[in-house]
Structures are given as structure tokens and as C-alpha cells.
Amino acid sequence: MSEKTERTSGFSKFINNNNTVGYIFAFPFIFGFICFSLIPIVTSFYYSFTDYSMGSKSVTYVGFKNFIQLFSDDVFIKSLGVTLKYVLLSVPLKLAFALLVAYVLTRKSGMVTLYRSLYYVPSLVGGSVAVALVWKQLFARKGLINVVLADMGLKTVNWFGDQKLALYPLILMTVWQFGSSMIIFAAGLKEIPTTYYEAARIDGANGRQTFTNITLPCLSPIILYNLVMQTIQAFMSFTQAFVITQGGPNNGTLLYALNVYNQAFKYNHMGYACAMSWFMLVIMSLITLIIFKSSKFWVFQEGGED
């Protein structure tokens, strides 16, 4: 194909135009964004101001009623509290474990890859129904955890029978899946120049000083990333609570997503459930914003100081 024929053909010119090429390649996303994100978001926003339920012929506009109702809904307030407790306990613990294990596994040893795989296994399978069912059995009344407690001469605990305790096995399960954060930390640790550590050793810094003064600051952007992603993920946690406790006892493990699901698909309060999802979006955006704003004070920017 010579340049001349290409220039003369209008279609060829059109099809090879950058705008045409761009939109042809980006088409799947644009189509999907409009159909599977934008339209549902707008619909959800509209429904949150209505009393819509599936099968009903008429949809009545109810103004802010759904949003006002949230604050007098005891189940909602309890579920919000349970979710905040779940997020505030599970995310920091998960990240601490991930960082600790990643740090311990930076030693140069042929076994490290194998070890990392071993610690990654829970993340690999943790989201599955299969593992959730195992967890339910481990913490059952006569389950393995209680057998161990009894063997040690301690009192057995009715984990899923007590609304104050039922959340802890779920938190533990989330923390247990620290593998993917660990791998992200491990990749970050590899990027820290060894010269920093050598300089510290020459200056006579001990292990802890090296960790707090070199490792943590260098890793802070990655900590920020993991913190944001894990927080968002924790707020959306659903399968565990749905499979293991169904939100009980007495709504002690009613995580936000489960509550939304119940309102929408169990009670058919679609409008109310949409309002709840929007409220969650606002809370999550606020928390993400706070994390980003606070990062100024604890995330180390290279070249920012000295």
C-alpha cells in the first residue's frame, strides 16, 4: 500500500484519524460506563427520593423522607456502628500484619518466595463461600476453637450466640487475609535503596531505629494506597457476614452491605435501600478524603525535605 493511495481514499483517512481510532478502541469502556455505571447511578439517585418497590406500578416522590428515616431507624444505626467497628479494627490490624510479615520476609533466602506463597493462601481462598463455611464451623459452639479453649482449661465461648462477640471471628477472618497487602508492601520494600540502610548502619542505628526512620517513611505512600483500598473494601464486605452469621445475633454483625441487601431484596424497600447506598457513598468519600488530607502529615514525599 503506497502512501499515495492512502491519502486519496477518504475512508482510509477517516478510519486512521486519531479521533476515530481512539473512539473505536475506547468504545467498550464508553458503552459500559454509560450503561453499567452512569445510568444505574442516576437511577439509584432518583429512586432514593422515592418509595419504589419491585412490582409496584406507581412510584411516589417522597423527598428526603428516606434519608430522614435513616436516622430514626435503630437497625440502620446499629448496622452503621457495627460496620465502623469492623472497619476500624480490621483494616489497621490487617495492614500491621501485612507490613510486619512483608518486612520479616525481606531476608535474602531461597525460601522467601515459598513463604510468601504460604502466607498468601488465605487471601487466595478467603473470599470464597467454602472458607466462610469452614470459619463458621471453627467458631461453632462445639467447634475447634472452643475445643482448644477447653483443653487449655479456659471457658468456652458461644461466639455466634453473643452479639458482643460475634463480630470478632469476622474481623479475624478479614485480618487473616492480609496476603495481597503483604505482596504490595514487599514490592515497595524492594524499592528502598540499600544505601539508606548501609548509611544507617554506619551511623550505628539499631533495628528499630532503622525501621521507624527509614522503612516506614519510604513505605508511607504504599501504606496510604493500601489504607485507602482496604478501607473501601472493608466497607463493602458482604459474603462473610451473609454466609456465617446472616447479620445476627440481634444484628450484632449486620454489616452495612448486608443491611442494604436485606432492605432491597428481603423487604423490597428499593427506594430506602438506594438512599442507604448513597449515604454509604457519602461516608466513604468523606473517610477517603480525610485519609488523603491527613496524608500530608505522615506520607513522606521524596525530595520534599532536606
Binding site: 458503552f31 493462601v121 472452643n146 477517603t288
Partner: protein, 282 residues
């Protein structure tokens, strides 16, 4: 000399500690696998042992029979079908979109790219209900379409990951190809796509995991038992029988994890590097 002994004993302690903790980490998984060979009563007693008192491989045949006259062969085939098509869709569409964002200058690119970043941060639950209602109105809410079709529209996470990878492919290659008479289309198929392979493999693995383990999607969209996926069927299996057969349930759970483990063993290196460099959740 003493220094060396001290160093060696330190090393031994390190390895013993790491392995012990690692054992506790995978204990629940091992316990499930051993449970799949145990008698019901032994599981319910909360036995710590990983070696069954009496071996009961018939858990697998009992479990395989499934429920409502539908065997697990159907459920696993359903899972494979949905996962395979959705993964294929994700890889093809995401690489196309990533190419547009990373290599082509077009009007409105910035806007669409911002939209993509926004969908990455958007919690799926906000669009869960309206999406369901839309599919319901289209009469497709009880089918595989809602579980599969969105995957052919690119997944923001993977688009972003592939864009990061494409940044590492020298632009000189594109320029040289243009001089040799390649169009933007043939540059994608002949240059970018072959070089993108590691990133494509990571995408396949992670998307496979997500889709295979997905519970909420099938829970919302599949109501007929014959169209259930394995994860949905296992949960139903646990609920349906008046007295749950734990041995059989664990047997099917263990089977459902086999594809995940196989892929992990084969592609371990790709996965660890992929998550590490792109910061993806695995």
C-alpha cells in the same frame, strides 16, 4: 566461630518461626481438606487432628450428587462457563481500552479517563440495586447476561494496570512501525499485544479468581438451581438438607478450590509480580 554458630541458630529460629506461623495461616484450609475425608460426627466434635480417624472418601460421591436432582457436575460447568467467558471478555476489552488511553490522542480522552478512575473508586453496592432493576425490566435478571456482559466493557482496574505496563513499552517501536506502514490498528495487534503478554496473564489469573469466588452476583441473578454456580450451590447445599452433611459439604468446597490452587501453582510468579507492580487486590 561463635559468631557463626550464633548466626546459624538465629537463622534456624527464624525459619522455624516463619514456618510455624505459616502453618497456622493455612491450618483452616488444611482442616477443610481433611474434613472432606472425615465422618460428620468427627467434624462436629471439633477435632483438631488433620488425619481423619476413619477415612470416608464417599463424602465426595455423596456431595457430587448435589441437591434437587442436580449434580455438582452441572454447578462446576456453570461456574467454568461464566468465569471463562467473563475472563475472556475482560482481557480483550480492557486491552483495547488501555491502548486507546495509553497510545492514542483523541478528543475527550481526558474526560473518559477521569470517568474510568472514578469507577475504580466507586463502591459496587451503589449501583447494585439499580443495575438489578434495569436487568429485571429487560427480562434478563434471571440469566447469565448480567454476570457476563459488563466484562466485555473493560474493567477499570485492569485497564489501569495494562496502561501502567504499556508505559514501559518504548514509543520508538510505535514510531518505527508507523514508518514501516503500520496503522494504529496493526500496531495494537502486532506490537503492543504480544509485548503486553505478562500483563494479560496477570489479568486472566486475577479476573478468574474474582469471578470464580464471586458470590453476590450469582446470588442476585440466578434463581433456578440448574443455573447455579459452584459457590452458590455449596451455600445452598449447606442450607438445604435438614441435617447438613458437613463431610460432603467440605468435599465440594475442597473441589471448588482446586482450580484456584492449580492456577496459583502454575502462575505464581506472574501473580506475585503483577500484584506487586500494579497494586491490585488479588
Amino acid at each position: 566461630m561463635t559468631m557463626k554458630v550464633k548466626n546459624n541458630s538465629k537463622k534456624v529460629i527464624y525459619h522455624v518461626l516463619v514456618i510455624t506461623l505459616g502453618f497456622f495461616m493455612i491450618y483452616p484450609v488444611l482442616w477443610m481438606i481433611s474434613g472432606s475425608f472425615k465422618d460428620n460426627s468427627e467434624i462436629l466434635r471439633g477435632s483438631l487432628s488433620l488425619i481423619p480417624k476413619e477415612l470416608k472418601p464417599e463424602n465426595y460421591s455423596t456431595g457430587w450428587k448435589g441437591f434437587a436432582g442436580i449434580s455438582f457436575a452441572t454447578f462446576f460447568l456453570n461456574s467454568f462457563f461464566i468465569t471463562a467467558i467473563a475472563t475472556l471478555g475482560t482481557v480483550i476489552s480492557s486491552s483495547l481500552v488501555a491502548y486507546a488511553f495509553a497510545r492514542v490522542k483523541f478528543k475527550g480522552k481526558k474526560l473518559w479517563f477521569t470517568c474510568m478512575l472514578a469507577t475504580m473508586m466507586l463502591p459496587g453496592q451503589v449501583i447494585m440495586i439499580p443495575s438489578f432493576l434495569i436487568w429485571y425490566k429487560l427480562g434478563l435478571s434471571d440469566s447469565y447476561v448480567p454476570l457476563i456482559l459488563p466484562h466485555f466493557c473493560g474493567q477499570a482496574f485492569f485497564i489501569y494496570q495494562m496502561m501502567q505496563f504499556m508505559k514501559g513499552i518504548p514509543r520508538e517501536l510505535d514510531e518505527a512501525a508507523t514508518i514501516d506502514g503500520c496503522s494504529k490498528y496493526t500496531i495494537y495487534t502486532n506490537i503492543i499485544l504480544p509485548l503486553l503478554k505478562p500483563s494479560l496473564v496477570t489479568t486472566v489469573i486475577i479476573q478468574f479468581y474474582w469471578k470464580w469466588d464471586d458470590y453476590m452476583g450469582p446470588l442476585l441473578y440466578l434463581s433456578k438451581p440448574e443455573s447455579y454456580t459452584a459457590s452458590l450451590a455449596i451455600k445452598m447445599f449447606a442450607d438445604s438438607a435438614s441435617k447438613t452433611d458437613y463431610g460432603a459439604m467440605f468435599a465440594m468446597s475442597a473441589l471448588s478450590l482446586i482450580p484456584v490452587f492449580l492456577i496459583f501453582l502454575v502462575f505464581n510468579r506472574y501473580l506475585v509480580e503483577g500484584i506487586g507492580t500494579s497494586g491490585l487486590k488479588g
